[in-house]
């Protein structure tokens, strides 16, 4: 891993002064009509997992428009240009999937970056890499950042099993977002 890539992973905002910010953005309570951004990190089954979760949120919680975004590399946080676009276009972000060491850390870093920009965010990793995600939260100065951990593996699963992972993720995502109202 190059020095620039490592720095990008550790300091996704490009500035160290924000690293002590450990406060979540305001929580939405209801998802009705909100635009949800799905940030796919290109790991296998990320798209499917995010789509399954979004379908549940559409059906049961009335989310509005769903926008899809794709990172160019799973091992580092989202680049500034795409980050700025997402922040300007959505109310909530869901990002997946951290099912390796670097990508779980990057997925958590993305979540923290969006939270600090005022966008409630759910980062999803597999439980085998919870330690990597938590370590990133610690290094970012946000040790209390919560993220969803679904059962490992994710990449090798078929559609039916991804559906099961979505079932695991949705209640935790709602809890993290502070959502209490269904439609």
């Amino acid at each position: 891993m190059s020095t620039s890539t490592r720095e990008a992973l550790l300091y996704p905002t490009g500035a160290a002064e924000g690293l002590s910010e450990g406060t979540l953005s305001p929580r939405p309570v209801s998802l009705k009509g909100l635009t949800v951004g799905l940030l796919d990190n290109t790991k296998p089954n990320s798209t499917l997992l995010l789509d399954e979760i979004a379908a549940d949120l559409k059906r049961d919680y009335g989310i509005g428009e769903i926008k899809h975004y794709v990172k160019d590399y799973f091992g580092t946080p989202v680049k500034d240009e795409l980050f700025d676009q997402i922040v300007s276009e959505v109310d909530i972000v869901i990002t997946a999937v951290g099912d390796c060491g670097s990508c779980s850390a990057a997925t958590v870093a993305d979540g923290i970056k969006f939270e600090r920009a005022g966008i409630p965010t759910v980062s999803i990793t597999s439980d085998s890499f919870a330690m990597s995600g938590q370590a990133m939260a610690d290094v970012q100065g946000f040790p209390g950042f919560e993220f969803v951990m679904v059962q490992h593996p994710v990449a090798s699963l078929d559609v039916e099993h991804i559906r099961g992972r979505a079932d695991q993720a949705v209640p935790e995502a709602l809890r993290i977002l502070g959502v209490t109202e269904t439609i």
Binding site: L10, Y73, C100, S128, S132, V139
Partner: protein, 80 residues
């Protein structure tokens, strides 16, 4: 339980995590109450999946906290 056993136990879950990406975790003593953690790649290791050094150091330092040892440093394979 010996001090060595406590380190093995403390790092066991991390061994599993590293193995998932194709890496092997070993450790050795480095002077008084210090431990060096070494990560080695297997033939099937996912190079892009390796946790960067500062994150790995954070993980290992916390893991060793309950043991009589402190982390000296972490060695990652190749160019990492």
């Amino acid at each position: 339980m010996t001090a060595s056993d406590s380190v093995d136990e403390a790092l066991a879950s991390f061994r599993e995590m590293m193995a998932t990406d194709g890496y092997v975790l070993t450790w050795s003593e480095a002077g008084d109450d210090k431990v060096v953690v070494k990560i080695s790649a297997t033939d099937g290791a996912c190079e892009d999946c390796l946790v960067p050094l500062p994150i790995m150091t954070n993980i290992m330092a916390k893991a060793l906290a309950p043991t009589p040892y402190e982390l000296d440093h972490v060695e990652l394979p190749g160019s990492h």
